[in-house]
């Protein structure tokens, strides 16, 4: 990819943008996306109302492209370029952080495939308008459920571990203690997202509204 001129700082800037884009907007969007989908655990009406609002923002295509697709495409493609520049060696040096390095890459790839498919089926495939019934219909297919579980877990892991990476690579967490704390923070986000995702998927599958109780 970017055949940066030998002595130029372009590579540095692109690396930093790739790193940043993982957190904002992509990471932030992932959290938000799981949040809005969690309304499915409240009630059908609430879910349809929230997603209806999201699907009717003005300049929708432009906004989505700017805050989502372009950053995601950049993050992913440039991420694969970064991946190609490394030579993982977790088999010969099986330290935990080294496995994380490997997993960060494979989960990224999984996420890429999953998101592509997810966009194709949910966003562009039909109508561009998602309603509870449509999703629930999809989720009756066990392959869909498995794909979603894997995809959501991969995305969440990638985000959680990515936050830890981010904290180290932007000089936010410097001392081993701080990096340790950042790792726990990342793990919490990762696990939180994974759980939320799983519950939402199962909610659709079983038409289950565990959070509905609040909104009487």
């Amino acid at each position: 990819m970017p055949a940066a001129a030998p002595e130029s700082k372009t590579g540095y800037i692109l690396d930093k943008l790739q790193s940043l884009s993982g957190v904002v907007p992509i990471g932030a969007y992932l959290v938000d996306h799981l949040w809005s989908n969690s309304y499915a655990l409240v009630s059908i009406e609430k879910y349809n109302q929230v997603s209806g609002e999201l699907q009717t923002v003005p300049w929708r295509i432009g906004v989505e492209a700017a805050v989502l697709w372009i950053p995601l495409l950049f993050h992913s493609l440039y991420g694969m370029y970064i991946w190609s520049r490394g030579k993982s060696n977790a088999l010969s040096h099986p330290w935990m952080s080294n496995w994380m390095y490997v997993l960060q890459r494979w989960t990224g790839l999984l996420a890429f495939v999953f998101i592509g498919w997810h966009l194709y089926t949910e966003r562009f495939g039909g109508h561009g308008v998602t309603r509870y019934a449509g999703v629930a219909q999809d989720m009756t297919n066990p392959w869909y459920v498995i794909a979603y579980l894997v995809g959501v877990t991969a995305c969440s892991f990638h985000l959680g571990n990515g936050l830890w990476n981010f904290a180290c690579k932007w000089g936010i967490a410097i001392t081993p203690k701080a990096q340790h704390a950042a790792a726990w923070f990342g793990a919490a986000v990762g696990v939180g997202c994974t759980l939320a995702g799983i519950v939402v998927v199962l909610g659709f599958h079983y038409a289950w509204f565990p959070l509905g109780g609040y909104v009487q």
């Binding site: 590579g11 952080s97 080294n98 000089g171 410097i174």
Partner: protein, 250 residues
């Protein structure tokens, strides 16, 4: 009583362009042996286990007390210094290979001049005015010395580069050792006046952004240098410098 013996397997290559062969030696065990003693034993009797005459194994070593950095190699697959690798602690047969991230010279000898070149590229020195007597150096808080001293113990062995997934033929990454040296010089009162030069150098290809945080370096460092701390700290410094110089021309 028959002498206790053990086996050493060595990956040998006469020249960079020649083929690789593995040789096995059976050596007489003595207490407190290290890998260097094994290699000397072989030099004294260069006959493989099957009795074939070979040549003494080429390897680098100088201080024999883990402060010169010369003797790094892969021992049972682990990047480490041969002089502190005690036979008692190693699984047998002992397997010796050259480091893989540096051009091979012969047998266990590799060419690590890349590291010295990178120290040059990143201006790792304090630019003094001259050697004439111009009085005392700057004062330094003991707390700064206590942070800097561990960094200054880097022996340029290259183990941290060897284990780094981002140091390889495809990527010119300078590696943790060099970044940690940049941190050291940026910490010194005089060195800090020139930190911009070093930080700029680390924004170029092979610079700090190549670090992908696999954090292997810190585990391989024989001197226990807090490399991941250095990487994070310098990452922050470069970023602040980049933003400041872009926004405010500083």
């Amino acid at each position: 009583m028959a002498d206790k013996t053990f086996i050493v397997r060595i990956k040998r290559q006469q020249r960079p362009d020649e083929s690789v062969r593995w040789e096995e030696y059976e050596l007489r065990y003595r207490p407190h042996m290290n890998v260097i003693i094994c290699l000397r034993d072989i030099a004294e009797k260069p006959f493989t286990r099957s009795g074939v005459e070979s040549t003494p194994v080429s390897y680098d070593a100088n201080c024999l007390e883990e402060v010169c950095g010369a003797c790094a190699m892969l021992i049972n697959g682990t990047a480490r210094q041969a002089c502190t690798a005690l036979v008692d602690d190693l699984e047998k047969p002992i397997r010796l290979e050259p480091l893989t991230k540096f051009p091979l010279v012969r047998d266990l000898v590799v060419d690590r001049s890349k590291m010295f070149e990178d120290l040059k590229r990143t201006h790792c020195w304090i630019p003094i005015d001259g050697t004439y007597d111009i009085g005392e150096g700057p004062r330094m808080a003991p707390s700064v010395q206590e942070k800097g001293y561990p960094l200054s113990r880097c022996i340029t062995c290259g183990n941290c580069l060897e284990v780094c997934p981002k140091v390889n033929q495809r990527d010119p990454f300078v590696g943790a050792a060099i970044v940690s040296q940049v941190r050291l010089f940026n910490m010194h009162p005089t060195g800090a006046m020139h930190s911009a030069e070093r930080l700029e150098a680390l924004m170029l290809p092979g610079g700090i952004a190549d670090c992908d945080n696999a954090q292997n370096c810190v585990k391989a460092c024989p001197k226990g240098i807090p490399l991941t701390e250095s990487l994070a700290a310098v990452n922050g410094q470069v970023l602040v410098h980049a933003v400041k110089s872009w926004l405010r021309g500083e």
